[in-house]
């Protein structure tokens, strides 16, 4: 297949967004067209993944300028699989959104913006150039702002203020780092930078850029102590939006950390140390806070933080086994977290509340749905052999083999926190007898919904639940992918050679 194929996912998203902008305000069309275009994107993404899986790393030069002069697009196994996951989530969420996003929001461009968010994510995964990574990040940020605020409810706006401030700050820090990198290496192509950075006369400058990158990406990934924007904003927008955010945005930060630090700062003991410490604090902060939450979606938000800690910890450990764990966890987390927030939406639809105190009785009222919802919940805990369990083996045993006892211990502790948090949640939300539910003006409860609306809830949840079951039971299929990614990342030259089309 032609290497230009890398562009196709991007083109599809952008074209879809443009078309939907032309069809401004036409609700029905936008709903269906969004689902359609995301289905198309999924097909293309799978093709791209297949291409990479068979041919190895694929790269393409925009404008045909040979690297490092043009902007390089690089589809290695990591990028390709993440693009694939993005479009999976994209399809699920666009279906969910079609059922849950109210007409006013659709009228004001919800779906085109969502599409552009996916565009930004795919671009950021695929780009091989530092500055355009920044640009893609800005696309993600601005479209997430819009999705966060669209509708302008009080909660939304207040959450948006925190979200906006800390993310803006982080991207300015990030931009500063890029500028310094250009100042000391005179290039922006990541592979090229990777070659030139070791030659810089002032190594401490290089480390400063590393710190700035860590702060910049760390904020997006919500690691300690940069995560505060997340718990104060993720529970404010519509569920579909929270689902995308919870599933993909923070993982974007994790991806950036993996990419940049495996490429530019490999073998830097100090940096790995800092990362590991940050990871430990993140696990503790997220896990501990998760145990004392009363709002379902905020509980999930803290669990996101806790589990980001797992992945960062793996990056800190850095052995192939650890990275395999991280990648596997990344795959699992993207699917499951997205599903969690959709489940939260479903429970809200059933009971009209997100407060754990008032929730209840779902187990008795909707046993089959409870079973369905149990899948993501217990996958998240990592009840073996569900998806959350496998990567922990990689992470913990990697910690043991490298004698990183503390971080392994913290990962175990974090898993314990998660177990308790979810078990409590199950007892409260599903087992506890339900409170009296009052009818509300302009709020239709689940049992009043039509079949079509119900399907728009259940299809995506079922789809992702099935996927996470597959990741868990078919771990033997996922592990080789994660391992291949880890091996590709373990040696900088693999990436560099792929970009410059040189053979070792």
């Amino acid at each position: 297949m032609n290497e230009n194929f890398i562009f196709v996912p991007l083109i599809i998203h952008l074209a879809a967004a443009t078309i939907m902008l032309f069809a401004w305000g036409r609700i029905k069309f936008q709903r269906w067209f969004a689902i359609l275009s995301n289905a198309a994107a999924l097909i293309v993404a799978s093709a791209l993944f297949g291409m990479v899986w068979n041919q190895g790393i694929v790269t393409v030069q925009s404008g045909g300028w040979k690297p490092p002069f043009g902007i390089t697009m690089v589809a290695d196994t990591l990028a390709a699989s993440l693009v694939l996951l993005t479009s999976i989530v994209g399809l699920a969420v666009s279906i969910f959104a079609a059922g849950t996003i109210i007409p006013q929001r659709v009228k004001y461009g919800f779906f085109p913006i969502l599409q552009i968010l996916f565009l930004g994510l795919c671009g950021a995964f695929l780009t091989g150039d530092l500055f355009s990574l920044y640009v893609w990040f800005e696309i993600i940020i601005i479209s997430s702002f819009v999705l966060l605020t669209i509708g302008g409810e009080k909660m939304q706006l207040e959450g948006a203020v925190n979200y906006f401030t800390l993310n803006m700050l982080s991207s300015l820090i990030f931009l500063t780092a890029i500028a310094i990198i250009y100042g000391i290496t005179g290039t922006l192509n990541m592979a090229d930078v990777a070659m030139k950075l070791p030659l810089v006369e002032h190594p401490h400058l290089v480390e400063v850029t590393a710190i700035f990158f860590l702060a910049g990406f760390g904020t997006k990934a919500a690691i300690f102590p940069f995560y505060f924007w997340l718990p104060s904003s993720y529970h404010t927008p519509p569920d579909a939006v929270s689902a995308v955010f919870g599933g993909l945005l923070t993982k974007m930060g994790v991806y950036a950390i993996i990419r940049v630090f495996s490429l530019l700062y490999a073998d830097n003991a100090l940096i790995s140390e800092i990362i590991t410490i940050a990871a430990g604090c993140t696990i503790l902060a997220g896990g501990a806070a998760a145990l004392v939450q009363n709002n379902l979606r905020r509980l999930f938000s803290y669990l996101i933080i806790c589990h980001i800690g797992f992945m960062i910890a793996g990056i800190g450990i850095g052995s192939v086994l650890a990275i395999t764990g991280v990648i596997f966890y990344l795959f699992h987390d993207i699917i499951v977290k997205t599903n969690l927030f959709m489940v939260a939406g479903l429970t809200h639809r059933m009971t009209g509340t997100s407060s754990i105190r008032d929730l209840g009785g779902i187990y008795d009222k909707y046993p089959m749905l409870a079973l369905l919802m149990a899948v993501p919940l217990f996958s998240l805990v990592g009840i073996p052999p569900l998806s959350g369990f496998w990567p922990k083996i990689g992470l913990i045993s990697a910690g043991f083999t490298d004698h990183k006892w503390i971080i392994s211990g913290l990962i175990i502790l974090g898993s314990f926190f998660t177990l308790i948090a979810i078990a409590k949640l199950w007892a409260e939300v599903f087992w506890k007898p339900s409170k009296e539910i009052y009818a509300r003006p302009n709020f239709t409860f689940w049992n009043k919904l039509g079949v079509k609306r119900k399907l728009l809830y259940l299809v995506p949840i079922g789809f992702l639940a099935a996927l996470s079951l597959f990741i868990g039971l078919g771990a033997g299929v996922i592990e080789p992918v994660a391992e291949r990614v880890a091996l590709e990342l373990s040696d900088t030259m693999i990436y560099v050679n792929a970009v410059f089309k040189t053979k070792q």
Partner: protein
């Protein structure tokens, strides 16, 4: 100027961050504008200074003769300026809406999302 402009950059950063730490949302946005200017200046400096030599190829030549200002940072700054314009205009409107809803721009008055639900 190789000394003064770095200092100016530092001043812009400092001022920006100081404004970020205020309680007024408006000041916060102003802070971002200042920071943005600081970053642009920093990027510009990263290309080193070359007085009065724009990266334009004269009519008579096919390449720029002699020393010239580094075009790359200029391109980056152009992009950065425009992007931050987009974000800022969004933020400015956010001020308006937040003010309309909370009737204040005191950030401590609009933090209910961190309360326990």
């Amino acid at each position: 100027m190789n000394l003064l402009l770095p200092i100016v950059t530092g001043v812009l950063y400092a001022a920006g961050i100081y404004m970020l730490l205020r309680r007024s949302f408006v000041k916060l946005i102003i802070g971002f504008t200042l920071l943005g200017n600081g970053v642009n200046l920093l990027i510009f400096l990263m290309g080193r200074l070359a007085k009065g030599k724009p990266p334009l190829i004269p009519d008579y030549a096919d390449v720029i003769p002699g020393l010239y200002a580094d075009p790359v940072p200029q391109a980056l700054i152009l992009t950065a300026i425009v992007i931050s314009f987009g974000l800022q205009s969004f933020a400015i409107i956010l001020i308006k809406r937040v003010y309309a809803i909370a009737n204040t721009d005191d950030l401590d008055e609009i933090n209910t999302t961190d309360d326990y639900a």
